[in-house]
């Protein structure tokens, strides 16, 4: 984490500060992605990013989307980078489970093929 509270991520030339995401929200977004429910996934992701960056930065991001400078995928990409860094940070913390929202699959290792 960049300091105690935030992750700083660049979105097309501008840096934004993200508060860590709620694990339950990340799980929800990952589940929607796995279901192929793109409309619901994008909406949930935008809600989570909005809560994470706060009103001022969110207004700036929306303004750049309206101006055609950004597309929603840029914001989703930033969200994935934050989630990745958050996951790495939590894996380094003893006792934490870690997050891996960037991973598109959720196949438990126990279901993987094993030769006998």
């Amino acid at each position: 984490m960049d300091d105690e509270t935030y992750f700083t991520v660049q979105v097309k030339g501008t840096a934004y500060r993200f508060r860590p995401f709620e694990t339950a929200e990340l799980t929800k977004i990952q589940t929607l992605s796995l279901m192929g429910a793109h409309a619901q996934m994008i909406k949930a992701a935008m809600d989570m990013v909005s809560a994470s960056v706060g009103p001022a930065q969110w207004d700036a991001l929306v303004g750049r989307v309206s101006a055609g400078e950004l597309v929603l995928e840029d914001i989703v990409g930033a969200m994935k980078r934050v989630a990745d860094r958050q996951g790495k940070q939590e894996k380094r913390t003893p006792g934490s489970k870690g997050l891996d929202v960037a991973s598109a699959t959720l196949v438990p290792s126990d279901l993987s093929s094993e030769s006998v």
């Binding site: 339950a24 799980t27 929800k28 589940t31 929607l32 796995l34 279901m35 192929g36 429910a37 619901q40 996934m41 909406k43 949930a44 699959t105 959720l106 196949v107 438990p108 126990d110 279901l111 993987s112 093929s113 094993e114 030769s115 006998v116």
Partner: protein
């Protein structure tokens, strides 16, 4: 099946569709549902303050167990085994068509194929590999044996009684 208090009915799907959907086992039930139901499940997952994510995962694993007559991890391992190129090739040569067979039949065929001609040692290893519960499911591995009684019995055997 029930997600966030709502009841859904899943249509029959052949084994081929189950095998494909099992690449994402935590949302298996949604992938097997009709499109309209899948969209409704997504709305429930996206809604704030529900347990839909956990409901969907639990129900997905439950229907896998129910459809195959095995624990979900046994079924998952058999499906993983079935798509191993050698096993899949032998299933195809044996005429087992995943588009006309149920997932239960597909798992049974895979199991039978892997044990065909196998000796007792291999059979035990394979059964053990299938049955070991994944983390968090150890409680399901109940063989009815009281661990305290078992420990006492082993101790008694060691003492030669």
């Amino acid at each position: 099946m029930r997600v966030a208090g709502e009841i859904f009915h899943l249509p029959y799907r052949p084994a081929a569709e189950w095998v494909s959907a099992l690449e994402r086992p935590s949302v298996l039930a949604a992938l097997l549902a009709e499109a309209e139901d899948r969209n409704r499940m997504a709305d429930l997952v996206a809604a704030p303050g529900t347990w839909a994510v956990e409901d969907l995962r639990r129900e997905s694993l439950r229907i896998l167990a129910e459809a195959t007559g095995r624990t979900w991890w046994e079924a998952g391992r058999l499906v993983s085994t079935s798509v191993d190129p050698e096993t899949l090739g032998r299933l195809v040569l044996a005429g087992v068509d995943p588009w006309t067979r149920s997932i239960g039949e597909w798992c049974a065929a895979t199991y039978a194929l892997r044990l065909k001609g196998a000796d007792e040692k291999y059979r035990l290893r394979f059964d053990f590999f299938l049955s070991v519960p994944p983390p968090g499911e150890e409680d399901e591995w109940d063989d009815g044996l009281d661990p305290v009684a078992a420990a006492e019995a082993v101790a008694a055997m060691k003492r030669g009684r």
